[in-house]
């Protein structure tokens, strides 16, 4: 990484780390939400951006993590850390058991299958008494936004380090090879099945931790909010808008889109999801390669960049 970029990252990290001290309560809460979404976006980035398997159901891991923490703390009276571990175990089990059959599917079949699985899990959980069925669970309250902010920031740092490691490791190169040309990767010696499942599992583990932190922070969850399908919409557009398959793209996407959404929500209530939907539509049409690609080309092409994208893809 070039030196100025490294410095930019360090400064940005320090700035973010300092928010609980110099920021208002509202900013801290915005921060927690944005940080957790960024983690989800990075998680998606691993399986969708780097491995080329666009999961439309990563919300399932978020939900499993949330319920892991909730069940552990509420039903078994275990501490938060154990709950987090339980959540990760649930996510890993899911990824390993269902990842193998589902990752045999390619492209849109894989996408639909993950969507279906997310739906199934949500429906199953709403029938489990231990999980509070449809009513949900209420967690013991902990009023310490600073702590949650720190946890979320730490998790994002961990996720980003994992993604950065992908760009420098044999494992990551294997994933990229799978994305670019899966059959070609196989004949060159990449164990595509094992690698795909591993990527899915890592993605799931990180996403589940985000869910766990969120559950404890919000102190309440039910199947609908924990397995919220619109999370998939958000995490994918954040990763794609910022730049899928890059290290910092998802973070940039998450923060920029969260900020605009927050601002819009203050002007017009409950418009957040509508906003994300509209952004997706516009982004897919005009800048399908994300912000990083846009930033690289716009100097040369100016407004024509957008027209180019459309011309390439229209009927």
């Amino acid at each position: 990484m070039k030196t100025w970029r490294a410095w930019a990252v360090v400064i940005a990290f320090l700035a973010m780390a300092g928010v609980p001290w110099y920021g208002s309560d509202v900013l801290v809460q915005f921060g927690i939400n944005a940080l957790l979404l960024a983690v989800l976006a990075q998680g998606w980035n691993i399986i969708g951006g780097y491995t080329g398997y666009p999961s439309f159901g990563n919300s399932v891991f978020y939900g499993l993590g949330s319920y892991g923490v909730a069940i552990a703390m509420v039903q078994w009276h275990l501490p938060f850390e154990v709950g987090m571990l339980f959540g990760v175990l649930l996510a890993v089990a899911f990824a390993l058991l269902l990842g193998v059959p589902v990752l045999r599917l390619r492209g849109h079949y894989f996408a639909i299958a993950t969507l279906a699985l997310a739906g199934v899990m949500a429906a199953i959980v709403s029938n489990i008494p231990l999980a509070g069925q449809n009513i949900g669970l209420v967690l013991p309250p902990l009023n310490d936004d600073r702590l949650f902010y720190g946890l979320a920031l730490g998790l994002l740092a961990l996720s980003t380090l994992v993604v950065w490691w992908l760009t420098k490791s044999r494992f990551g190169f294997g994933l990229i090879a799978i994305r670019e040309n899966e059959d070609g990767a196989a004949v060159m010696g990449v164990n595509t099945t094992a690698y795909k499942v591993a990527a899915f599992t890592i993605s799931g583990a990180l996403s589940s931790m985000a869910g766990g932190i969120h559950a404890y922070w919000i102190t309440f969850l039910d199947p609908e909010s924990a397995f919220d399908i619109s999370l998939n919409v958000k995490m994918i557009i954040m990763a794609v808008f910022g730049g899928a398959g890059t290290v910092f793209g998802p973070i940039i996407g998450a923060f920029s889109l969260s900020a605009v959404s927050e601002w819009l929500s203050s002007e017009v209530t409950s418009i957040a999801s509508l906003f994300f939907g509209a952004v997706i539509v516009a982004a897919v049409v005009f800048m399908p390669h994300g912000l990083t690609h846009l930033a690289a080309r716009i100097r040369r092409l100016g407004w024509r960049y957008f027209g180019e994208n459309v011309r390439e893809n229209r009927l």
Partner: protein, 248 residues
């Protein structure tokens, strides 16, 4: 050529059926280390299918594939790659978003014996591969920016970076001019000098005649000839099936 050494590759009665169509019918042959075996035949004869059966992309309906005397028939493609089977693709399959160097580095990272664990070492090895095929100066270009001949060499470099013991070349000379063909022949000869066994599918008869130690002819999935190039190319069955009246 050392004919008493164990064959590097052996096919025994390999048959491939695709719901009603027999692509490869009862083919048996062997290849020794350091031998260049040419494979020719009309389009649709089953040559690429045969390569797919050897590399593990396909599993044969019947028969066995042996590598170094051990049966590899049940093994998936990536395991055969780890044992030392490398191949090029007729329809070139680069990793488009990656640089030429990184394309080849994948081969170094995952090839024979599981490849390199360190990215840096793999890239070094990739550079050597690129130099070997003459693409050294293109290392940092994007793979999808290479022209046709360049891509052919990239295919070779990728397979060679795997440090294979057996190299399967699927029409690496197609679409090349005389000079480029000579260059590819030179590369394949250098490969053979390292003791690697090479199976070459080609349509360019002149090239394959001068390059091969032995020639195999496939027609409608069956092996119809197996011998020295001169003998095979003079064989009337071969002439009738493939070469027609004007053979080189």
């Amino acid at each position: 050529m050392n004919t008493t050494a164990a064959p590097l590759l052996e096919l025994r009665h390999v048959t491939q059926r695709f719901s009603g169509l027999v692509a490869v019918a009862d083919v048996s042959f062997s290849l020794a280390p350091g031998e260049i075996l040419g494979l020719i035949g009309p389009n649709g004869a089953g040559k690429t299918t045969l390569i797919n059966l050897i590399s593990g992309t396909l599993r044969p309906t019947e028969g066995e594939v042996l590598f170094d005397g051990a049966a590899v028939t049940p093994l998936p493609a990536f395991r055969r790659a780890r044992l030392g089977v490398g191949r090029t693709f007729q329809i070139m399959q680069p990793f488009p978003g990656l640089s030429v160097l990184d394309n080849v580095a994948i081969g170094a990272l995952f090839g024979h014996g599981g490849g390199q664990a360190q990215l840096a070492k793999a890239r070094e090895q990739a550079r050597q591969s690129l130099e070997f095929v003459g693409l050294g100066s293109f290392a940092d270009q994007r793979a999808d920016e290479l022209g046709g001949p360049g891509r052919k060499r990239l295919e070779l470099a990728k397979a060679l970076a795997m440090k294979p013991r057996l190299l399967l070349c699927d029409e690496v000379m197609a679409g090349l001019n005389h000079v480029e063909i000579e260059e590819v022949i030179a590369v394949i000869r250098k490969v053979r000098e390292q003791g690697i066994g090479v199976l070459v599918i080609e349509h360019v008869i002149k090239a394959i005649r001068s390059l091969s130690d032995r020639l195999l002819v496939l027609h409608h999935g069956q092996k119809i000839a197996d011998g020295t190039p001169d003998a095979v190319l003079a064989d009337p069955t071969v002439v009738q099936a493939y070469l027609g009246k004007k053979h080189a």
